[in-house]
């Protein structure tokens, strides 16, 4: 039985061969010839192993000549060249296709192996079932096999087996003499062999001893969202992501593991922290997604997208994979920068293969997901009248909603009016790639447009291009890779979020905001919210991320790598309020404002390193990396503001204002970081793994003498299932690894240059002279927070890896907490930064369960569950509770909590809030007015933690024939402030609507037992409300389950697709944030903000074509 598999390739001109060998095995000689010629050698290993060693000296020879020389002493061998393959065969058995031996028949099989997208898969191993030898497909997935059917197998069908790492293998019985096959392999990554990126290398789940979660392009692509963080929500154990607003280009709250630093300031899940944020690395270069963008969104004071997030500017379609690095081992090589986790983003890279073009078009819309249903006019007026009755008062001249000024038969659903729109969303991306083994390329382009669900103008439009190229010398000693991406994001949406009271909660009988003439109605007692539509606003952000990588491998296993990256975000925001913005009755020319702001954030990083891979003593695998990082970051901002420009056309430039009405700003923030590092990973017999990482970090944000710190980690792993004594149980447990690591790092989440006392030049000019004022108090002793980290983990695979479980427990002690220490005002400042001896202990569990529930030929069902339970507690804080700034801290409790009064419902006789004080007395305790009042320190007896108790996600994936379906349900258990807890006045005081379900529960008459107080018109009710806001009543369990993502796709069968001259065709529908189940109440349990739009619901449909 003989299988000949000939890889089909273009002919390459003859190579010049130089080979000098003395007493070398033929295998080695062939290997050399293979390398130099680029031809594939094809032979049975048994055929040549037994042959004597040869000595040759070949100079400037062609391949043919070289073969003649090399085989001149081998009488048993013959050779032939077919296309780019050299076939070595035994002389006796040499069987040209035309002369069948022993009545054997020759079957010629040609074909191509493709993936489900129709893309050819290179290096697929093809073997004849029962035979020993395997051959491979070419870079485009094509193959040609000639099979001699042995008479001994007569009657039995011949079966070809196609297999490749990462794909389910497939058996194809041969039927005819000549066959042309298109074989589709289904991706089936053995979870253990999934590639995971580490700081400067990569590993697999099997051998990784740290904590890394990998999310790949396929999973990202299923989420029809503009920011990749939204696609990660609910998918990553140990990482909680919270969308802060439904506005496009909005911000995100990201927390890896437990909150363990005071440097971020008081914890509030509703607002963004600027400290304690993970490090974002895009293709090796730091990307500033870890903080607020230096852009306060304009003069009108609106923060409609809550300061944004830099990842809004990178299209998720260009990402190949995202690796979230947590814990000591995974993050140690990032030193102090990685103390709060690392998010490693890798963009799609060039891949060898025939040129291919891929196009993806998505269209859909988004709308408001959760929203409180407010009272209608009838209910609203009843509530207001009741409020007056409760106070024995009658509506006065300013009670327009009741006194007849407004039409009380009118009923406007303001929420529908302002936020009821359907925002169209279009996404488009195209890529073209291909190349040879030594030179490959990828170019791609993307465009997206996101509308606005609000009664508003404008859209966010973004577009960009990215490319990747790889090139190497023939012998692959020197390789060079370059990637780059440039994109532009243009946001000209009206800078307003109507979710706040001026818009949505206006009285339902409030007059129309637009007069029949089309002009704004200014005859209302508040500023017309639609004035925002006249703001001239345009933000253009350009983003460049690029990376170059040069590797020189002089000998196998030793590489010198130079890699450098550059990222630049540069933005310009124009914001102006023209005359139409203002109420003409009170307009004064000087009110007009024109403002242009610029900022750039430029990061340069350079990572030269040497890597050494070596097999030691046969069973040992050593990888050592020594290198250094240099990082230079510069943020620049500038602005020009001009006031009092009366002409709308002149308003387009603030420079048109007179000198006296103009103000300019220019600031810079340079920082540098450096750190040599070393990493050693040693693996013995694929059983025992030890990894050591060390780093010497220096950061310019600290002062002389405190800039450098030494950080390290030690990790180990033991793959127990590889032990021979474990074999008896491998039928059930086929993989078992335990791993652990300890590390010591530092953190530096504080604004730079606090070590030196500085003066800043500001607008404090006096009589024409410049003004300099002290900008901070210096603390030259500031130094790193100390972070002692450890974790232990286990990976178990059951039943042929049908069930994979990974569990990690982490423990962390963070000391020397950098925090701002409040000072008495007599020092001239309110605080200064210092390293408090406070200590925080955090620990937690991260669990991932991946099961292949059903693995049938036409039906598969996989489930992936992740679960995280983060815990934290303050273990030491000298002087805790002595100050307002640390009043909420309790030793032994998390720093993410808040101390509150105990809420006792509404007094059944008076309809006013009741509280229970520390002495256990129940009462109203109205500030100022009541005889006894609540003490803001002593009477706050309750404690509510706002950090999640647990969170996770359940992802189910099904395939049925060509259909596939995925849905992800995320679950979060937490507490949060409720709607009424964020109102300054109770119902009735102001002309303001409230949620209908909340209003329906209000106290109406003596004896009512409820938690909602009576409607009142008494202005002083804000005093009671203020107690309420600081009580347990203002907080609710905000646990929710959300159908985060659902996608359904259909791939057309390859045969059909080929008829259309395509290589792949998929149509799909996807939805985001489709359903939320929660008892939280009227607000969205994710962002919990009454004045910012909740995360939107998105529906899309798309088509993906590959040519």
């Amino acid at each position: 039985m003989l299988l000949l598999c000939l890889c089909v390739s273009a002919t390459v001109s003859a190579q010049e061969i130089n080979l000098s060998a003395k007493n070398e095995s033929l295998e080695k000689v062939f290997g050399q010839l293979e390398k130099q010629s680029g031809y594939t050698f094809f032979y049975k290993i048994e055929l040549i192993r037994t042959l004597p060693k040869v000595s040759v000296d070949i100079k400037h020879a062609s391949l043919i000549k070289a073969l003649e020389l090399a085989l001149k002493d081998q009488p048993t061998l013959s050779w032939s060249i077919v296309k780019k393959t050299v076939v070595i065969s035994p002389r006796a058995e040499t069987a040209p296709a035309s002369t069948p031996n022993n009545k054997s028949t020759l079957i010629m099989v040609t074909g191509r192996v493709v993936d489900r997208d129709g893309q050819g898969i290179p290096n697929v191993s093809i073997s004849l079932k029962g035979a020993q030898y395997a051959w491979k497909t070419n870079p485009d997935g094509a193959f040609t096999s000639m099979i001699m059917d042995d008479p001994r197998s007569q009657g039995k069908a011949l079966t070809l087996v196609f297999s490749s790492i990462g794909y389910a293998s497939k058996e194809v019985p041969l039927t005819g003499k000549e066959q042309k096959l298109i074989i589709t392999l289904r991706e089936q990554v053995n979870t253990l062999d999934e590639v995971q990126m580490t700081a400067y290398s990569n590993t697999s789940k099997r051998f990784n001893v740290g904590d890394i979660t990998t999310v790949n392009a396929d999973e990202i692509a299923r989420n029809p969202v503009p920011n990749v963080l939204q696609a990660l929500e609910g998918r990553v154990p140990g990482m909680q992501i919270q969308t802060q607003t439904g506005e496009a280009n909005g911000s995100f709250h990201v927390q890896i593991r437990s909150v363990n630093t005071l440097s971020a300031g008081a914890y509030n899940p509703q607002f963004l922290n600027t400290g304690g944020q993970p490090l974002y690395i895009v293709d090796g270069v730091e990307y500033p997604a870890d903080g607020l963008l230096p852009e306060p969104n304009g003069v009108t004071g609106h923060s409609f997208n809550l300061y944004g997030n830099a990842l809004n500017f990178l299209d998720p379609s260009q990402f190949e994979s995202i690796n979230i690095l947590k814990g000591p081992d995974a993050t140690a090589l990032y030193g102090s920068r990685g103390a709060f986790g690392v998010i490693l983003i890798t963009t799609k890279k060039a891949k060898a293969g025939n040129p291919r073009f891929s196009l993806n078009v998505v269209h859909g819309f988004s709308n408001l997901s959760s929203h409180p249903k407010l009272m209608n006019t009838q209910e609203y007026l009843q509530m207001r009248h009741e409020a007056f009755a409760n106070n024995n008062a009658t509506p006065g001249a300013s009670d327009y909603d009741l006194n007849g000024t407004w039409d009380t038969t009118k009923n406007t659903d303001w929420e529908h009016y302002f936020l009821g729109g359907h925002a169209p969303t279009t996404r488009f991306n195209a890529s073209y790639s291909g190349g040879t083994a030594n030179s490959s390329y990828l170019i791609s382009a993307n465009y997206s447009s996101i509308g606005n669900i609000q009664f508003s103008k404008g859209a966010v439009k973004a577009g960009g291009m990215n490319f990747s190229m790889n090139t190497s010398t023939i012998n692959r000693q020197l390789t060079f890779g370059l990637t780059g991406s440039y994109s532009t994001n243009v946001d000209n949406m009206s800078p307003v979020d109507f979710s706040n009271s001026a818009g949505v909660t206006a009285a339902p009988d409030a007059p129309d905001l637009v007069l029949p003439t089309g002009k704004l109605n200014w005859n209302i007692p508040y500023a017309n919210p639609l004035q925002a539509l006249f703001i001239l606003f345009k933000n253009t952000t350009n983003t460049l991320v690029s990376n170059a990588n040069l590797t020189w491998m002089p000998v196998k296993g030793l590489s010198f790598i130079l890699s450098g990256g550059y990222s630049l975000i540069s933005a310009k925001e124009f914001d102006a309020t023209p005359i139409e913005y203002f109420n003409p009755a009170t307009f004064n020319t000087s009110q007009t404002i024109s403002l242009i702001k610029w900022y750039t954030i430029r990061t340069l990083s350079f990572d030269p390193r040497v890597q050494y891979d070596k097999i030691l003593f046969g069973n040992g695998h050593l990888q050592a990396i020594v290198g250094t990082t240099l990082r230079d970051k510069l943020q620049e901002t500038s602005a020009i503001q001009g006031n009092g420009i009366a002409n709308d056309e002149l308003l387009l430039s603030p420079a048109n204002a007179t000198q006296a009405n103009r103000a300019d700003v220019y600031t810079t923030l340079p920082t540098r970081y450096t750190g040599p590092f070393a990493s050693i990973n040693f693996r013995w017999a694929d059983k025992y793994i030890v990894e050591l990482n060390g780093r010497h970090d220096g950061d310019s944000r600290f002062g002389p003498g405190h800039q450098f710190g030494n950080f390290w980690s030690v990790a180990g792993g033991w793959i127990i299932s590889e032990e021979s004594w474990f074999k008896p149980v491998t039928k059930v447990v086929d993989f078992l690894k335990i791993k652990g690591s300890v590390g010591h790092t530092g953190a530096n989440s504080l604004s730079p240059y606090q070590y030196i006392s500085t003066y800043s030049l500001n607008s404090n000019s006096y009589e024409g002279g410049i003004g300099l004022s002290a900008s901070n108090l210096a603390n030259p002793y500031l130094h790193w927070e100390t972070d002692k980290n450890s974790e232990i983990g286990v990976n178990i695979g059951f039943l042929k890896e049908a069930i994979n479980i990974e569990g990690i427990f982490y423990f962390n002690h963070m000391g020397d907490q950098l925090t701002s220490q409040p000072l008495s005002g007599i020092t001239g400042f309110s605080s200064f930064f210092y390293n408090t001896p406070a200590k925080i202990y955090t620990h937690g569990l991260e669990l991932t369960i991946f099961t292949h529930n059903i693995r049938k030929k036409n039906f598969t069902w996989d489930t992936k569950i992740n679960f995280t339970a983060p815990r934290s507690k303050l273990t030491a804080y000298p002087g805790v509770n002595s100050l307002v700034s640390n009043a909420n801290y309790i030793i032994g409790k998390p720093i993410t909590g808040i101390k509150l009064y105990k809420y006792a419902g509404v007094d059944p006789t008076t309809g006013v809030y009741n509280f229970i004080n520390a002495a256990g007395t129940k009462g109203e305790f109205t500030p100022i007015l009541s005889p006894t009042q609540l003490d803001p320190i002593k009477d706050k007896t309750e404690f509510i933690d706002m950090a999640p108790k647990y969170y996770g996600g359940i992802l189910n994936s099904f395939t049925l024939g060509n259909f596939s379906m995925d849905f992800l349900v995320s679950i979060t258990n937490k507490n949060g402030p409720n709607y009424e807890g964020q109102e300054s006045f109770p119902m009735g005081v102001e002309i303001q609507n409230f949620p209908a379900d909340y209003a329906a529960k209000r106290w109406r008459k003596k004896g009512d037992i409820t938690t909602v107080p009576k409607a009142t018109t008494n202005f002083l009710a804000f005093l009671d409300q203020n107690n309420f806001i600081n009580s347990t009543g203002a907080y609710t369990n905000a646990t929710y389950a959300r159908l985060q993502n659902l996608s359904l796709s259909y791939r057309f069968a390859p045969r059909l697709v080929h008829k259309m001259h395509l290589s792949g065709l998929t149509v799909y529908v996807a939805g985001q944030n489709l359903l939320t189940i929660s008892k939280y109440g009227d607000l969205d349990p994710e962002n919990m903000l009454p004045n910012a739009m909740p995360p939107l619901r998105i529906y899309t449909g798309g088509i993906n074509v590959n040519f």
Binding site: Q477, W552, P554, F560, S590, Q591, P608, G627, T628, T629, L630, N643, G644, N661, A663, T667, T668, L669, T671, R672, T674, G675, P676, F677, H696, G698, S700, Q707, Y753, I756, S757, T758, Y759, S760, L761, N762, N764, S765, Y766, E767, G768, G769, I770, G771, L772, S773, A774, S775, L777, A778, L823, S824, G825, I826, T827, G828, S830, S882, L883, V884
Partner: protein, 484 residues
């Protein structure tokens, strides 16, 4: 690979790796918008700039003009103003129900101590630099400013901690010093200022100017005279006031309608307004006390406060100060509301957008010095004659178009001086309230007045204001003002 690349590349690599440990790499320039404190007092221009910032804050944070000023807050708290507004700070001040969080009265404390940090830094920095051309001028200004800030701190809060260095860790544990010690410190600082400053005015380049926006020796003298008056050191008060009045080439009493104008010869020192982007160079008082004609004072924050009836009624018939410095607004009857007349202080009148300052926020003027000398002399029982109190009173009255005072006995003369101070210095940096308190007349007056204003009972500890609660928490030696 050739021999060269085989050997050079690894060496190059080792060099690159060595870069990582390099300390020099971390020598990053500071952000362009800040400079290190050590370099601030390096030359004359930056010394002036550091002081400019203090002047700017005194003007722009609104503590001497506007609705958060000593004029406004002490006016409402005492008997000079009537509140019609709904602003809760205005209300709390008017009914004398201020607290650490009510009335906005703690902001002076925070701001003035914040300026003191800058001033203490300046004194330390300027003293250390002998290369400065105008060292005495800058140092003198800094000492003067320290005296001024402590004068208002002790005037508002009584006993206050004396902070003389920028060492925040030490300062954060200071306790209050008795008011007498604070006055001693003020006098020491002002004597220093007198010895350093010249009689000429200087601009921020150190050049001599006619502009009176930076203090000179006479400014220090004027404040010293006032401080001696407050400490009842009548002899020294007379000496100091006398030395200002003696300089009659520089200081005169001009016509009433020019007193507050820039370069008025009456001004000893005034802050030059910077205004806002909307109203450049305007003194905020001009805006808040002049409503559009016929506007009912009320809801909006600015025009909500008028002169009190008692103040209006204090003016003698024919007093030119009434005709020049009071704005009368008649609001016609509408519906059931009858016609009403409101009186506003109108010392500052230039309202609008200007390209140069028109009026100065007058901090010290000659008329006050006449009245200080008068009071000192009266207390020393020097009543008539060329060095008598009556002469000084009459100098002020003559300018106001009034006949000489009829008082002759010491007590009557002292009362006449208080009357004259009330109508001369009305609605100017809280003189009236501070005068009532230092002459011991406060409790009696407020006990009757507070209930009339709609407040609860007056308690004598209410003469001084509370300080921020957080400051007491952050500095355990610091105690709240008695009574709060």
């Amino acid at each position: 690979m050739s021999f060269i690349s085989r050997s050079i590349c690894p060496i190059l690599f080792l060099l690159l790796l060595a870069l990582g440990g390099c300390k020099k790499y971390l020598d990053v320039p500071l952000p362009v918008n800040v400079i290190a404190s050590e370099s601030v007092f390096g030359n004359d221009q930056t010394c002036a700039a550091a002081l400019n910032s203090v002047y700017f804050n005194l003007v722009n944070q609104g503590y001497f003009a506007g609705t958060t000023s000593t004029t406004f807050d002490l006016g409402l708290y005492g008997d000079e103003m009537t509140n019609y507004g709904i602003n809760i700070n205005f209300k709390a001040l008017y009914v004398d129900a201020v607290g650490p969080t009510a009335g906005g009265v703690t902001t002076f404390w925070t701001s003035f101590y914040s300026q003191l940090y800058g001033v203490n830094q300046a004194i330390q920095g300027i003293q250390a630099n002998n290369a400065l051309t105008y060292k005495n001028q800058w140092l003198g200004e800094a000492y003067f400013l320290r005296g001024l800030l402590y004068f208002y701190l002790t005037s508002l809060y009584g006993d206050v901690p004396i902070v003389l260095t920028p060492d925040y860790l030490t300062n954060n544990s200071l306790a209050r010093n008795p008011q007498a010690d604070v006055y001693k410190q003020i006098i020491t600082d002002l004597k220093q200022a007198q010895s350093l400053l010249s009689d000429q005015y200087h601009d921020n380049n150190g050049a001599v100017t006619t502009d009176r926006g930076r203090p000179n020796r006479m400014a220090a003298t004027a404040l010293l005279a006032r401080t001696y008056l407050y400490t009842k050191d009548w002899t020294d008060a007379e000496v100091q006031a006398d030395s200002v009045i003696a300089d009659n080439t520089d200081y005169q009493l001009p016509a009433l309608n020019t007193v507050f104008l820039m370069k008025s010869p009456e001004i000893i020192w005034g802050l030059t307004p910077t205004g806002s982007l909307l109203y450049p160079y305007q003194v905020t008082d001009a805006l808040i006390f002049s409503p559009a004609p016929g506007t009912q004072p009320g809801a909006t924050s600015g025009y909500a406060v008028t002169m009190s009836d008692s103040l209006k009624n204090t003016f003698e018939p024919g007093d030119l100060r009434y005709t020049n410095w009071v704005y009368i607004d008649t609001v016609p009857a509408s519906g059931s509301t009858p016609q009403a007349i409101y009186y506003f202080p109108h010392k500052y009148q230039a309202k609008g957008t200007f390209s140069a300052p028109q009026e100065s926020i007058v901090m010290f003027r000659l008329a006050e010095q006449y009245l200080i000398r008068a009071e000192a002399r009266a207390q020393l029982n020097k009543l008539s004659g060329s060095d008598g109190a009556i002469g000084d009173i009459n100098t002020v009255r003559t300018r106001a178009g009034l006949a000489p005072t009829t008082a002759t006995l010491q007590n009557d003369v002292l009362s006449a001086i208080q009357h004259e101070r009330r109508v001369e210095l009305f609605c100017e940096e809280g003189h009236r309230f501070l005068d009532l308190r230092r002459t011991g007349a406060l409790d009696a007056l407020m006990t009757t007045l507070v209930p009339l204003k709609g407040g609860a009972a007056w308690v004598s500890t209410m003469a001084y204001w509370p300080i921020p609660v957080t400051d007491i928490q952050n500095d355990p030696s610091l105690k709240q003002t008695p009574g709060y």
